[in-house]
């Protein structure tokens, strides 16, 4: 047994639990996709001339976190579900750290895109949308499966993005949170609740097992 371990240590670099976990969830690839998304968001926001009209930032503030949330959602997929379930240690801590770390990193990266001149669609709106979008995809990963977790969030956010132009009702900050200016309490509460619910659902249940018929 001891010989085997020595042999392994010589032949391959030693990988401990977290790194193995990250590799099994293709986190490096997700990180690369998130960095590319952030770079694209910076490029897109730069060409918008938002000082003329802050509303011009809305496409970037709504769509970049949405795509980043899709990246995070698909990174929750595991190819070794049956094996994972035989583990002795509880999974919830790893799931929580995975989700929180990627969400925090995304929020920080995307906020860079809308820095600069004071604007109603600045970093707070970007952070809020990252939270809300990730909450939606995390919930969808738990209910539908990680690989298709982007679908409900895409449907919802894009429908709100188009439909919110004429929304002036009292409840509109709650359901139209992806396109509201940064400071509103209603939109923040809605996005935070979505994130809390989605994260809790995923952390407790994990991504839905996707059978061969997925």
């Amino acid at each position: 047994m001891t010989d085997h371990r020595r042999l392994d240590a010589r032949s391959a670099p030693a990988l401990d639990g977290p790194l193995l976990y990250a590799r099994s969830r293709t986190v490096p690839r997700a990180l690369a996709a998130l960095l590319t998304t952030a770079a694209l968001a910076v490029w897109a926001a730069d060409g918008l001339d938002a000082y003329v009209d802050p509303q011009r930032r809305v496409p970037v503030v709504a769509l970049a976190p949405l795509f980043a949330a899709a990246v995070i959602g698909t990174s929750l997929h595991t190819a070794s579900d049956e094996l994972d379930r035989t583990a002795v240690r509880p999974w919830w801590r790893r799931r929580l750290v995975h989700l929180l770390a990627l969400t925090a990193l995304t929020a920080a990266l995307l906020s860079v895109a809308v820095l600069g001149h004071a604007s109603v669609f600045g970093p707070p709106a970007m952070i809020r949308n990252t939270l809300g979008g990730t909450g939606l995809t995390a919930a969808a990963a738990a209910l539908l499966g990680a690989r298709l977790s982007w679908l409900p969030a895409f449907g919802y956010v894009s429908a709100v993005y188009l439909g919110s132009a004429g929304a002036h009702g009292r409840s509109s900050p709650v359901w139209a949170w992806p396109v509201r200016p940064g400071g509103g309490t209603g939109a923040w509460t809605a996005a935070a609740l979505v994130f809390a619910a989605g994260a809790a659902l995923y952390v407790v249940r994990g991504a839905r097992v996707e059978g061969p018929r997925a």
Binding site: L151, L162, G166
Partner: protein
Amino acid sequence: MTLVAERRRETAPRPHHPLRAEVVRGFGPWAGAAVLLTVVVALGADAGQWQGGWAETRERLHMVAGMLGVPLALAAGCWHGGRERRRRTGELLASAARGRLARLLVSGLPLVLWVIAGYAVAALLAWLATWYRAMGDSPYVIAPLTDAAVLASAVLAGQVVGRLVAWRLAAPLLAAGAYAGIGMLTYDSGDNSYAPLSPVVDGMTDSVPVWWQPLAMTVWAGGLAGAAVVAYAARRRAVALLPLAAAIAAGTLLVRTGDGLWHTDPIARRQVCDTSTTPQICVNARFERLLPQVKDALSGLTGRLEGVRNLPVRFEDRPGGPARDEVELPMLTPIGWSVVRGELADPREYAWAAGMSLYGRSECDDPAPSLDAVDNAVEHYLAPSPLEKDFDEQLAERGEADRARLKDRLDARARLRAMSEQERRAWLSAYFATANECDLSEVPTL
């Protein structure tokens, strides 16, 4: 024994067609539900801005189908295209007797069916909502049919991408890319001669396309998707050049025609009039059934103008400016402002706007201050603004000059009210003869 076997053969249920399982199971119903929900949420969120107007409903449906439906259909097709890879049944299917094209279509067409069904239900719901509050005009069928053809093309094109690209993020990336691409093609403010190629043409409620535009759009989108399908799956790939050539021809036709693709809707050029009032009231034929409401809202104004001369002949409501002796009816469009869900939102404010359009010194450089009191008295008598009291209070709270201005206004209103009917009619006739004059000496005094 033979008898039993024969009986069994008679009663055994007929096996279902393989397509049936593809249609009723799997991802198709989910994709249809996603399209339905997306379109319904996007339409429902601002129903006040299209409900009641058939052209507005057509435009809204068309925009939502193009901006949201097409990316979603591409993503759904792309996801579905990767199914055999996820199930690891690609090799098994490759050993089937049917060719690649048949296999692609058997898995792709049921998804097309569901996506179109989702859109069709959403379109029917939108039509029902508008029919319930319709103000005139009739449903436009061709535009949703064209949108359905474009959606079907998007599903098939996405299916091919899904077969080719083995990446988990291919579908959302395709959706985001399509969204950004269509948005740039449609809304790019620069010299954008390629805009007719976009499946979305925004804000054309008074216009309709030439008869062949839906055909050309269908060939353009369908040709591209057909070329992708044939190039991927057909035995003779060179055949893909045929749909590609058709798509390029249709695209060239669309781009070359440019603005000529659109012309004013014949019904929007007509108007429906009530000639029993002074001035006569006309509304656009698109909002024919709104005429009684408009007449009611303006009844106070037109009643007070009875017997007054030098007035415009009618309030007109056609695209373009008013003719001589006409004034423009206060705007009914875009709906959602003065008209919401087939009803005038604020008849008093509408009457005030109509009264204000009868006289105007907006082109005067510096109208004399005393004209302000005269104009205000007429405004107050014909159809006062719902905010008049607030304006008066604001003037009273400001400086000395504004208080004097308010006093002049109140005096002028009282003098006009104190006149006898006949005297007032004569005075108003003289006033309207000079309604656009900037010279104080021309305007009758109060």
